[in-house]
């Protein structure tokens, strides 16, 4: 047979690796992001949270990772768009009647839509907090006279989460995230070739309980907590 | 014209080896310029095409399906025999040879069958090397099982899908050569004529089934591997598209047809359920390893199978044939089932079925073991009948399955037309009057991998100076015109009845008068009826659509037109053979116990029929069968 070389990321499977690797990296990011933001629940007037945000914006390594993170989100999105376009082209004439309910999960068939909702959310989310934090007029304060001028992002968050539309946006988006991860987490492993009868249940379990339930639920709890507080 | 079987000199066990060592060769530089046409992509065709291409010949392969992988070899379930003696039960090449000769009721050629047994072992090696996933033992070595008509375990198998796996092996070898451009593949093409120039086969006319265009193809030699003609009966276990057209056109171009009346009726098929039935489904003979066949002792017993107590059951095979029991050869098992049903002991709604019961085996081995062995067959049965065979006995009835008859070939597998070869089920050789289970796969692959690629050299070596003949040669034009005329004639009948209507009629007549039991009176009657159906067909068939497009009705019509002629030849052959042997059971020739009575003094020959023109009686040629190594005895499985 002819030897075929090169073009890993031009190949269909290469694209899948990329989707899987970027997706699983973003899953990891979600865990870290959640861990940090859980400090919003601390009843200390925002001190822990504001100190944490200061650290996140001033550590050069973290800064590097976060820019890498943005890039990966962007590439995940671009790869997703290309994939959808490619897949649509693979079936130019659609079926008249389609019944896929028995053969696949709803999430798995709607990753593009779910991803789009998450992307819209991300834009708003970044505008509200990341943009404010970097370029906005966030009041500063000091803790324990340590001489550091902390930006009071906590107050910004508190204000944002006081609006109903904003809370609703968050909750809906977290549902989208839940379904996106319900398929995405497992799918990532499958794409990377990690499929073994002994571990499949574990991957599915973690994907479902940790990534499709726990993480989105905790993220959604934040705006609700502030709104109801 | 006299028949020369070209059997090599020497002792039986050395014939093939000696012959191979002396056969003329074609040197590699010349092979590059020699083109071979292979019609059919089943086990025989795909393996021959791949092997020829590997040797350096330029090969063109034709199949009517959309891919060579779909040929009906794929449906073979049970297994493939080989004299490996891995089971250490005393098997040997001679024993396989002997079993096959005996199983065929002494109506096959010793030299051919011995060669088959010799190469059987290499087939298994070849298939394993290709990645065929045969069943294995825990030690990683190959597993064997036993099959009907023999007392050793020499059958290699891949679950109930051995044919599929072997065919995919051959298909992959063929695909490799297609990828290398050594083979040119023509899917959805049907061969409709052989082109002969100066008495030699030099090409074919094929119809592109999608565009309807007729194409001319040249080959220095033409190999037919187009399968059997069981679909003459309409209902058979053959695929819907399996047909006799290639072989029939060859017959009409001068290739003799050998033993056309030898058809195999397989005992374990799912019974007919109604008039709508389009085909019959076989369930592997391997089921008889653990299943017990019975009918009620009482005629027309209305009770369900499970409700009939043990002592009211007649395990008629075990009763009649204690030595082989349920594992008697196919012809015997089939006839015994017919005998019981005709006598009024049949079961099921149609009363044309017997029970195949696994309750003993399930009790003895457990449901899991039975499921592991036959799970896919049980599922298939349940899908078709809606009944669960783990809980109630299966109903089975014999069905047309294989045709031992076919184009007459010599030791080189060449027909009576020079340069025209026939391999696999398409030829008449090796199985005599009855084929043993798991031997069809063996023969198809033996012919394709190990015999034809070598023997064809005897012809091609004389042809190295023959340049490719341009297809504007008058012989091609004439052949194409003949095909075109037949198509036009069919399209212009513009009658009122469908092709299937006539095909079903033909099938019924053939089954009734030339099926499991035959007699002179019925055969004569059937002969007349076939002629009538043929006339009616040509007066009243209706083919909608056009000939220059994908037209399945036209495809069927072309095939049925040939069946309507072939059916008559089968009857003529059955009438000629005044004896009972193997699958050919003439009711006039049986002993008091209902066993077949052979007539070795008069009929130890191959009946090879020569076409003499439309509406003219064919001429019978006899190839005397000489047995030097086995003694002819009455086949006994008691």
């Amino acid at each position: 047979m002819a030897t075929v070389q090169g073009g890993l990321f031009r190949s269909s499977i290469g694209r899948k690796y990329f989707m899987a690797l970027s997706g699983l990296f973003l899953c990891l990011f979600l865990v870290v992001h959640l861990a940090g933001n859980l400090q919003l629940f601390k009843d200390d007037g925002g001190k822990a949270f504001n100190m944490y945000t200061w650290f996140m914006t001033h550590n050069p390594l973290i800064k590097f990772i976060s820019y890498a993170n943005y890039a990966i989100i962007l590439l995940h999105v671009i790869d997703g768009i290309l994939l959808s376009k490619h897949n649509r082209k693979a079936r130019p004439v659609k079926y008249y009647k389609v019944d896929q309910s028995k053969s696949s999960t709803w999430s798995s068939r709607n990753m593009g839509i779910l991803g789009t909702i998450i992307l819209i959310f991300l834009v708003i989310h970044m505008r509200s907090f990341w943009f404010e934090m970097h370029f906005g007029n966030v009041p500063v304060l000091e803790y324990d006279n340590d001489g550091v001028q902390y930006k009071d992002l906590f107050t910004v968050v508190d204000a944002a989460f006081g609006q109903l539309w904003y809370v609703l946006l968050y909750v809906i988006s977290m549902f989208a995230l839940a379904f996106h991860l319900y398929h995405g987490f497992q799918s990532g492993f499958q794409s990377l070739g990690i499929n073994h009868p002994r571990y499949n249940a574990l991957i599915k379990g973690v994907g479902t309980f940790a990534f499709a339930i726990l993480i989105p639920a905790l993220f959604a709890a934040m705006p609700l907590y502030f709104f109801l507080k | 014209m006299s028949l020369d079987s070209k059997i090599p000199e020497g002792p039986l066990a050395e014939k093939w080896t000696r012959y191979k060592a002396t056969i003329p060769l074609v040197n590699p530089a010349n092979k590059r310029h020699i083109e071979v046409i292979v019609v059919g992509s089943g086990l025989a065709g795909a393996s021959a095409a791949a092997s020829l291409a590997e040797m350096g010949y330029k090969v063109k392969v034709f199949c009517f399906q959309d891919s060579p992988r779909r040929a009906h070899s794929i449906a073979a379930q049970g297994g493939i025999n080989a004299a490996k003696n891995y089971s250490n039960d005393g098997d040997s090449v001679f024993r396989l040879f002997y079993d096959t000769i005996k199983g065929g009721d002494y109506r096959s050629r010793e030299a051919n069958v011995h060669r088959l047994a010799e190469v059987s072992t290499a087939i298994i090696d070849q298939c394993v090397a290709q990645g065929v996933p045969f069943a294995r033992e825990y030690g990683g070595l190959l597993d064997n099982r036993s099959f009907g008509g023999v007392q050793v375990s020499r059958t290699f198998y891949a679950r109930g899908q051995t044919g599929q796996q072997l065919l995919l092996g051959a298909y992959s070898a063929l695909s490799r050569q297609i990828g290398k451009k050594q083979v040119q593949m023509y899917n959805r093409h049907e061969m409709l004529e052989v082109v002969t120039i100066d008495g030699k086969a030099r090409g074919i006319i094929a119809r592109d089934l999608v565009s309807g265009k007729l194409e001319r193809h040249f080959g220095h030699a033409v190999v037919l591997a187009s399968g059997g003609y069981g679909n003459v009966f309409f209902l058979s276990t053959n695929a819907m598209g399996s047909n006799a057209t290639a072989a029939w056109k060859a017959y009409k171009k001068g290739a003799f047809f050998g033993n056309p009346c030898f058809t195999q009726i397989h005992p374990t098929c799912i019974p007919v359920s109604g008039d709508h039935q389009s085909k019959l489904t076989l369930m592997s003979e391997s089921l008889r390893n653990d299943g017990r066949i019975w009918v009620p002792k009482k005629q027309n017993d209305p009770r369900k199978g499970v409700d009939i107590p043990e002592d009211e059951r007649d395990y008629y095979l075990e009763r009649r044939y204690p030595a082989y029991g349920n594992l008697v050869p196919r012809d015997i098992a089939s006839r015994a089932a017919k005998e019981r049903c005709d006598a009024g002991y049949g079961v099921g709604a149609s009363k044309m079925a017997v029970y195949l019961d696994f309750s003993d085996a399930i009790q003895r081995l457990g449901k899991d073991v039975i499921a592991a062995r036959y799970g896919n067959l049980f599922e298939m049965y349940e899908k078709i009948t809606g009944e669960n065979p783990y809980e109630r006995p299966m109903r089975i009835y014999p069905a047309v399955h294989y045709t031992m008859g076919g184009l007459w070939v010599d030791y080189n597998l060449m027909t009576t037309v020079e340069g025209l070869y026939a391999t696999g089920e398409c030829n008449f050789s090796d199985h005599g009057a009855n084929r043993l289970g798991a031997s069809a796969l063996m023969q198809g692959l033996a012919d394709g991998y190990f015999v034809l690629p070598i023997t064809i050299g005897a012809f091609l070596s004389k042809d190295i100076r023959t340049k490719a003949i341009p297809t504007d040669h008058p012989a091609f034009a004439e052949a194409e015109q003949a095909v075109q005329n037949q198509i036009n004639r069919l399209m212009n009948v513009k009658g009122t009845e469908t092709v299937d209507h006539f095909h079903k009629q033909l099938g019924k007549v053939m089954w009734e008068y030339c099926g499991m039991g035959r007699n002179a009176e019925g055969l004569k009657k059937g002969q007349g009826m076939v002629r009538e159906i043929r006339e009616a067909f040509w007066k009243n068939v209706r083919i909608p659509g056009t000939a220059d497009s994908l037209n399945p009705e036209l495809e069927k019509a072309l095939r049925v037109a040939d069946y309507l002629e072939l059916g008559e030849l089968m009857i003529a052959d059955a009438l000629n053979r005044n004896e009972s042997c193997g699958g050919h059971f003439r009711e006039e020739y049986q002993d008091e116990g209902g066993e077949a009575l052979r007539n070795d003094d008069e009929y130890t020959y191959v009946a090879a029929w020569e076409f003499k023109g439309d509406n003219q009686a064919p001429e019978l040629h006899k190839e005397k069968l000489i047995f030097e190594n086995v003694k002819l005895v009455q086949r006994s499985y008691k």
Binding site: A2, S12, N87, Y96, S103 | D66, A135, S175, M240, M380
Partner: protein, 247 residues
């Protein structure tokens, strides 16, 4: 019983097709789905209309030729069943059944319900084999294969190449088909020498044929009449990665 059919009719690849409605009376529940089409076609021929063209051959679920998309599902509603093995007892009297051809860029419609699946053949031709010439083989038992691997290899080899995986996949991806062959050979010792070259060659050809990409919905596995597992796709992904990293 009576069945209403909504069937895709298309004269040839170039022409535009459309649905046509038919009613088949006197359908027996013992009929296979294709036998019901036989009855319909007989009626059409008698009326002088062109019968519906559809692919079929063995009618026992093994050749892989039949290929109907029935009521929104490849090979219809039954699990692990080809169209030819689907029986009418699974439908209700008076039911309307929509029948369409496989839909994929790589499977152009030839006529009515007949599509061209030669893309699959070309993928096999690109590397779906073990390069062994006739006569090259060693004794079969000199290559022991662990039973477990032989079984897994068989599970993959059971593929009948019908294309239901492509038809069922929302992306018209052929990965289940390709991975079945890659896996069958990767699991056997005989397949090792060409293992990594094979996976690259076959994936490359698959991409050239215009199939969609896999998004792991698992629909292929669920609709495959031979129930081939998507663990084969994972194996192919793995082998492909190894091949690309190691090359």
């Amino acid at each position: 019983m009576k069945i209403n059919l909504k069937v895709w009719r298309q004269a040839n690849t170039q022409s535009k097709g459309d649905f046509k409605d038919y009613t088949v009376n006197e359908v027996s529940e013992d009929m296979s789905f294709l036998e019901m089409f036989d009855v319909l076609n007989e009626e059409l021929v008698r009326k002088g209309e062109e019968p519906v063209a559809f692919d079929h051959d063995c009618r026992e679920g093994i050749c892989g030729m039949c290929s109907m998309y029935i009521n929104g599902r490849a090979h219809g509603p039954e699990q692990g069943t080809t169209t030819c093995q689907l029986h009418m007892r699974h439908f209700k009297d008076g039911e309307t059944v929509v029948v369409e051809p496989w839909r994929a860029q790589a499977f152009p419609v030839l006529k009515d319900l007949v599509v061209d699946r030669s893309a699959f053949d070309r993928i096999i031709q690109s590397g779906g084999f073990i390069s062994v010439n006739t006569g090259n083989a060693v004794d079969a038992n000199s290559l022991p294969v662990p039973k477990h691997n032989a079984e897994l290899s068989f599970d993959a080899a059971a593929c009948i190449g019908c294309g239901a995986c492509v038809a069922a996949c929302k992306n018209a991806s052929a990965m289940l088909f390709v991975s079945a062959k890659v896996s069958q050979l990767a699991l056997l010792p005989q397949g090792q020498p060409e293992r990594y070259n094979r996976v690259q060659a076959m994936v490359h050809q698959m991409d050239l044929e215009g199939f969609g990409n896999c998004t792991n919905t698992g629909a292929c596995e669920a609709e495959c009449p031979k129930e081939i597992s998507i663990s084969n796709i994972a194996r192919m992904n793995r082998d492909f990665m190894v091949a690309k990293i190691a090359e």
